[in-house]
């Protein structure tokens, strides 16, 4: 049962993604990419959990994962903000 629930969530999320992302205008496609980059840094949640499972090797893998994911989250959101700040009207 849990499996089917989680698949349902996955499929629905894809549809929501298609709906909202087709509405992003071409002029914002670069910030969309860097922003979605930051969102894929959600792997940080998994990385935090990973540091406590899988024994010693798991801890090391988890640590590197935390570093990678944090680079994504912090760098992604910051650079997106830096870009969006520049989009001005007349």
């Amino acid at each position: 049962m849990e499996l089917i629930n989680i698949f349902t969530v996955f499929i629905l999320a894809i549809f929501v993604g298609f709906e909202i992302i087709t509405k992003v205008p071409p002029t914002l496609h670069t910030p969309l990419m860097s922003g979605s980059n930051a969102i894929s840094g959600i792997a940080i949640v998994g990385a935090i959990i990973a540091t406590q499972v899988g024994g010693e090797i798991g801890t090391w893998l988890g640590l590197i994962a935390v570093i990678f994911a944090t680079i994504n989250v912090v760098g992604g959101f910051m650079v997106t903000d830096r870009m969006l700040k520049m989009f001005k009207r007349k």
């Binding site: 993604g17 990419m33 998994g46 540091t51 640590l63 590197i64 935390v66 680079i71 650079v79 870009m83």
Partner: protein, 457 residues
């Protein structure tokens, strides 16, 4: 545990609302903030709810990651944004693969389903990681931007793919000790990320980056299935969908299928040597002084920026010229082709950096009717996207690609450094048209000269 899941749902909702606000440049910045709050909620909820976490390790990791991430975000130049996104895709994929690998070593695991999701996550994540680094290297110029091909490349890829399927199956079904299969899976995933990316040329990078962006989402979603975590699944699905939509837009912008981009290796000399029909083209060149006089007489001017503008860092120079022309009562618009530059929206960001108002940036469908009554079209470092051969020459590699109809303008000023053909390796017939004048030189230097000449008129 319940509360954690509520927090994940909340952060997913904030991601969706954040992306929704990206539908307009007015609300976009607040959208990014909304999404980042969503991320903060997800992180805090995880830290609070999981017992016996080793906070020391996590905090060290976060500090190192924050420093590196912030350094990149502050230092990167807007022209280098494609490389930055490429490398970040890699880190995202890498993080997902590492999480899945850590779960592989978790002794508490081992349902078949769990092992299968781990294998998929490690495969997609590792492929994204190495593929992104190759893309980064190509964009940064560490490795040649030209397609790297060798005999038997496709066969090699097919062999790696077969081995990957076998190793994946053994990792999942292999019984008590599957460690060696697992290492093999990691190694070959890394290898195929490289072999799939090296044959792709520089100007096809928008497609590759979009695709790798999508993969980094897929990897996160796959890791979500490993951990049975809704937060990762929803976010991964959003990013996966986003990358896929952008990939599709880029492919349409080049009138090529995704398979053609990945396996076509366009841009190689041998592919276009047949088109060397020896037809000589008479090209007229003009000085910046003449160009200034033509612009002085014009009322409506459309600027077409291309990758050459980014390379020359000429976005500020072009805005200064445009400002001067506008101050003298002329209408100035910018025509942005979907695949101009090295990633989706690259030109828009560059021009936004130079304070060009976004209302002036028009996409293909909006701008093409405007060329009919346009006095001067200025093409800056763009080539294939303005080649009229795409409309009529069935033998041209870019036939069918939607182009900007600059040739419809009364006069076309083309700024290029040399007469070298564009990325697709074909000569642009536009340069020989009666209404075309070539202004040779570096984009930035030429525009600075042009502004000086305009002021002297």
């Amino acid at each position: 545990m319940e509360y954690t899941n509520i927090a994940y749902v909340l952060s997913a909702v904030l991601f969706i609302l954040g992306i929704k606000r990206l539908s307009s440049p007015k609300t976009a910045r607040s959208g990014n903030t909304v999404a980042s709050i969503g991320m903060l909620i997800a992180i805090v909820a995880t830290l609070v709810s999981y017992g016996h976490l080793d906070f020391k390790i996590i905090i060290i990791g976060m500090i190192i990651g924050s420093i590196i991430g912030a350094f990149f975000a502050i230092k990167v130049q807007m022209t280098q944004m494609p490389q930055m996104v490429a490398i970040f895709n890699g880190f995202g994929g890498g993080a997902s693969a590492l999480v899945a690998a850590a779960e592989y070593f978790n002794p508490a695991n081992p349902s078949t389903f769990n092992a299968a999701t781990i294998a998929i996550s490690v495969f997609v994540g590792t492929l994204t990681f190495t593929g992104s680094f190759i893309a980064f290297g190509k964009l940064q110029g560490f490795i040649s931007g030209k397609p790297i091909v060798f005999p038997g490349q496709k066969i090699l890829n097919a062999l790696i793919a077969i081995c990957l399927v076998l190793l994946g199956t053994y990792t999942v079904m292999g019984g008590s000790d599957t460690t060696y299969y697992f290492y093999g899976l990691v190694t070959l995933s890394a290898l195929i990320g490289i072999t799939l990316t090296i044959p792709i040329g520089g100007a096809d990078m928008p497609v590759v980056i979009s695709l790798l962006n999508s993969y980094s989402g897929v990897a996160a979603a796959a890791t979500g299935f490993v951990l049975m975590n809704n937060g990762l699944i929803i976010s991964g699905a959003l990013v996966g969908a986003s990358g896929l939509i952008l990939t599709n837009i880029m492919c349409k912008g080049m009138n090529r299928s995704l398979t053609n981009v990945i396996f076509g290796a366009v841009g190689l000399v041998q592919e276009t040597s047949a088109s060397g029909d020896g037809k000589q083209m008479l090209v007229k060149s003009a000085s910046t002084e003449e160009a200034a006089m033509i612009l002085d007489a014009a009322d409506k001017i459309i600027i077409v920026p291309g990758y050459g503008l980014a390379v020359a860092q000429a976005q500020h120079a072009v805005r200064e010229v445009a400002d001067f022309l506008e101050a003298h009562g002329k209408k100035v618009l910018y025509a942005i082709h979907p695949v101009a530059g090295r990633m989706p929206g690259h030109m828009n960001v560059l021009l936004a950096e130079a304070n060009v108002p976004y209302e002036q940036l028009k996409d293909l469908d909006q701008i093409n009717p405007e060329f009919e009554d346009c006095d001067v079209a200025i093409v800056l470092g763009a080539n294939d996207v303005v080649n009229p051969a795409a409309r009529h020459d069935k033998s041209s590699p870019i036939y069918g690609m939607p182009i900007l109809n600059v040739d419809k303008a009364k006069t076309v000023l083309v700024n290029k450094r040399t007469m070298n053909p564009g990325f697709a390796g074909i000569q642009n017939e536009l340069f020989g048209f009666d209404n075309t004048l070539m202004v040779f030189g570096d984009a930035k230097a030429t525009l600075t000269d042009l502004l000086k000449e305009l002021k002297e008129l």
